[in-house]
Amino acid sequence: MSTAHWDPQAGHLLSPDGKWYWDGLTQEWKPATGQAAPHTAAPAEPPARPQPERGLSSFTGTVRSEDLGFGQPVLVWARWILIGTGLLLSFWSPSDPTTLKVQLAAIVALAFGNFYLHVQLLRGHPALDTVVYGASLADIGVVTALVLVQGGFQSPVFIFYFAAVVGISVAFPTWLTAGYTALAIGVYGVVSLATATTDELPAVFTRLLMIAAVAVCGNLFARSETKRRTEAIRVHDEMLDEIEQKGGTENVQPA
């Protein structure tokens, strides 16, 4: 994406096409042609055509969100914790072969997927949004499958919903966090209501409320951080304008 850039010769900001400059006194863009030191912008290079990707990502679109990229490490580590703990506990006094097979198959599938996502991160090339969204759906699906295999409400592995929701809440935008959390709560709520006794309903309520609480806390924090960063960048831009008004020529870079 092209942005305004600093012209050190003329001492002001130029628009991406070089035809406009930012007048800090009047706080508006003005044509660059009337300037004492006209700036001849080099013809913009045509945007490079996106090269077809050959990895798994090529099947799923091209969008990478910055916030999601920074939240991906949390998602990946949350999933490794889920996988590691799941493996450890699967081999710790297993109940029956069928349950163990389902557990191991689900965990190994999740591990392969997470390995791919982690490699992408290590290469400095976070996975595409749709891949991340799909992986988080898989997390909820795997935890739900384990809960169902172990008897629904009685299953102790429901706590892995928390690890999954933590990653989602800090990485995804609010509306998606709400959607995924509602999905997790809805699915687990239905499973629990179908398998719990009347006396256990308060416990079901507590579990569901705490899943929602974790999602709210994570997303609240992520939004707060976005505002703080935006404010820091706004301060930076205002300082640039002030320098321009004073005719300063400090060597500064736009945020």
């Binding site: 580590w77 710790w92 690890a163 308060p202 974790v214």
Partner: protein
């Protein structure tokens, strides 16, 4: 990749993080209060039980009203007070696990109350403080479980449940603080751009 130059002093950074992050801790505490009050109203069959348990949450609610009010007015608590209030949260939840009528310790379903509290704390404080707090929560839960039922050690299934829950408490602390540190880096880069001018 070079690490961003942090232009704030460590003390300034901690104060800012505490100021902006305190809301998360307040909301986590609200979730515990709401859960507690609903459970009390739902499960209490006698006036005696209701009068013994409800005041506990009413007091906590009043305290959180005060803390939230101060936050909204722009004068949130300092670091020591927030830490102390968060430790009180752990004490309260552990007391619920041990003293609440019905199932106790490991068999109590209220252990999930630890999760939002530990996660919210990890989003606000530096790594050392977070590790200490998460460790305290784990020790408190393990102690509550062992004290109410020492046979956990010899019961493989119960020991497994306890280990699983302790791992998830630790994971929430780790993940919360991991994200906190990622965000510190991003904010430091943005702030460094501003100060460089």
């Amino acid at each position: 990749m070079s690490s961003p130059r942090e232009v704030r002093s460590a003390k300034q950074a901690e104060q800012e993080d505490l100021f902006f992050g305190q809301a998360v801790i307040l909301w986590a505490r609200w979730s515990v209060i709401v859960a507690g009050i609903v459970i009390v109203l739902w499960t209490s069959n006698t006036v005696d039980l209701l009068t013994r348990t409800m005041p506990f949450f009413l007091v906590l609610m009043a305290v959180n009203f005060f803390l939230h009010g101060r936050y909204v007015m722009g004068s949130p608590l300092n670091r020591v007070a927030v830490t102390a209030a968060s430790v009180v949260d752990l004490v309260l939840i552990t007391a619920i696990l041990v003293l609440w009528p019905g199932a106790h310790g490991l068999k109590s379903d209220f252990f999930v109350l630890y999760f939002p509290v530990v996660f919210a704390f990890a989003l606000v404080f530096t790594r050392q403080v977070e590790v200490a707090y998460t460790g305290l929560a784990m020790v408190a839960y393990a102690a509550a479980s062992f004290l109410t039922d020492p046979s956990i050690i010899t019961n493989g299934i119960e020991a497994k449940d306890l280990v699983m829950r302790l791992i998830v408490i630790a994971a929430l602390g780790f993940l919360g603080n991991y994200y906190f540190r990622i965000q510190r880096g991003r904010l430091a880069r943005a702030s460094a751009g501003a100060k460089a001018v």
